[in-house]
Amino acid sequence: MKQLPSYELHIPGETRALALVRMVVTSLAEEAGMPQEEIDKVEVAVDEACSNVLEHAYEALTPRPPVHLFIETTKDQFVIDIIDQGERFDFEAHVCPKFPDHWYEGHTRGVGLFLIKQCMDSVCYERLPDDRNRLRLVKKIQ
């Protein structure tokens, strides 16, 4: 496979940027040669991750800072880093809900992160030394 360039995307902390993010990420996943079903999953994961930043991490911030995305295709992985400047999230405390029980129990939180974990091969969250947060999403390329 040819070496693909990496991309850096800085988006405003506004939900109207989500459509652009989905478009860019799906285009790059397609360029990486991923099958359509996997491209769809990457689209969901990145959209939900960015939505979580805007809705939760940036909830108390006005104006909302930008969100930074770094997208890299290696020979066997498609990697997306989503970096925000919001509140730290207790990633380890998230327990994957059971569906559809979660809905019947009246819960609405945690659905986005559940989808992210289901759609990607690896998800890790880290507080960076400069007090930003990085969510790294990895999809293996067959």
Binding site: T15, R16, A17, L18, A19, L20, R22, Q36, E37, D40, K41, E43, V44, D47, E48, S51, L54, E55, F99, P100, D101, H102, W103, T108, V111, G112, F114, L115, Q118, C119
Partner: protein, 127 residues
Amino acid sequence: MLKRQLDIQVENVDSVAVVSLAGAIDPTNVDDFKSALKPLCSEPPAVVLLDCGDLSYVSSTSLGLLFYFHRICQASQGTLALCCVWDKIQNILRLLGLDTVLRIYKTREDGVKSLQEEAKKAAKAKT
């Protein structure tokens, strides 16, 4: 330019409220989706078919709303169902167990035909 539009068209087909959705439902327009469904699902007997043939994306928030409105319709002996759902959206519904909760028809015709019977029963139960 960045905002992906959501187009919502509602028509009544023999007591079935058919809602045609086109575009993407995400946090920019989920309130429009909610506002469109609320009156349709609140007036019993609510028999609603969402035609997703031109719907290319749904976020988790809108899927939560689907479950919420399903329960509202169910409480009035009504039904909220979907038709013409893209594979990518079917896969998300499956992950969230909504494929076992919501009725999903392959075609709009199948959905309307089946729901018309439901609408008749619901109307009869109301009287």
